[in-house]
Symmetry: C2
Subunit: 190 residues, 2 copies
């Protein structure tokens, strides 16, 4: 079952039942346990991933050999290394489940076929990408404007569900804070 | 004349001469002098802008009352406040020419009509947005990994033409450096 992605597509474009049958031919659905990998460093990221249910993190290993989280994806979000996906270059990233997850994946070649068979998906993905650009612009503006403390409070107020589901040390990594400092901030916030 | 945008579209999708005529009906072309505004804070950003020739900067006024540059756009780049464009909300940004520029603009409503009349533009804009997401991911990774000094050297090596055309104090603003510090870095680099 992958009703969430179908529902998401139908928010933006028409997709009849017979078109859903076509769609299903070109996507794969994975049921993954916690801590399973969808992508590992130095492989080409040949897929776009949609989180039907669950939670993913995308990270790379920085120069100090430490995991640096660059992005998360919760239910209903798309995630990929778009540079690697578009240019077929090896990725610097890992994409891994944080909790048990149900993931819909579309590979590069099948996406091309889907755009021919269901051209309305061009619009859907155009809108998804446009939303991602808007999100990146907003995030970049917040990072210019806010101290790390303010960014943490903004983040925790904007995404309370997220804070419940994602381990604190991962949120610290994403925000560029030490886990100890994040723990202090949380105490102040109580 | 706006041959660059037509050429850019044709890199990704077909566009016949008669379709160019349709396209022209729905876009506007501005010849702007240096320091003219395309967008001002608190207005809705109702346009996507393509730099046919020239250079733009997108900035906001931060809490200290200082201009903070968030993005630049050179020949062949698209720029907009996508959040404002998609949600019809007032923008926090200014978009202004840095040099004499020739700009192609498409407003929100005309873009909708163009997608109906020339559906292949969905693919073109899907690819443009995907490239923008890939760019944002790369930039965010560099910011995690690099010191401001390293980021400056990376930037100046990757975009030498840019360094020639954009005033130093604007590059300093974009990189979050003081103009004095940037000037020191440049001397070191000579």
């Amino acid at each position: 079952m992958h009703k969430n992605i179908i529902q998401d597509i139908r928010k933006y474009v028409d997709l009849s039942e017979s078109e859903v049958v076509v769609f299903n031919k070109y996507v794969e659905i994975y049921q993954l346990k916690k801590k399973e990998f969808l992508l590992q460093e130095s492989r080409v990221c040949n897929y776009l991933y949609f989180v039907e249910k669950g939670c993913l993190r995308m990270y790379f290993i920085n120069k100090k050999g430490v995991e640096q989280i660059a992005q998360f994806a919760l239910d209903g979000w798309w995630i990929s290394d778009y540079q690697s996906f578009m240019k077929y270059t090896p990725s610097d990233y890992y994409i891994q489940t944080i909790e048990e997850s149900s993931i819909v994946s579309i590979d590069n070649e099948n996406l091309g076929i889907l755009f021919i068979e269901l051209p309305q998906l061009e619009k859907y993905f155009r809108i998804m990408m446009q939303k991602a650009v808007a999100g990146a612009q907003l995030r970049s503006k917040l990072l210019y404007e806010m101290s790390k403390e303010e960014f943490y409070f903004h983040f925790s107020t904007s995404f309370p569900e997220f804070m419940q589901r994602v381990p604190q040390y991962m949120i610290a990594s994403y925000l560029g804070l030490t886990p100890e400092y994040l723990s202090e901030l949380r105490k102040k916030n109580l």
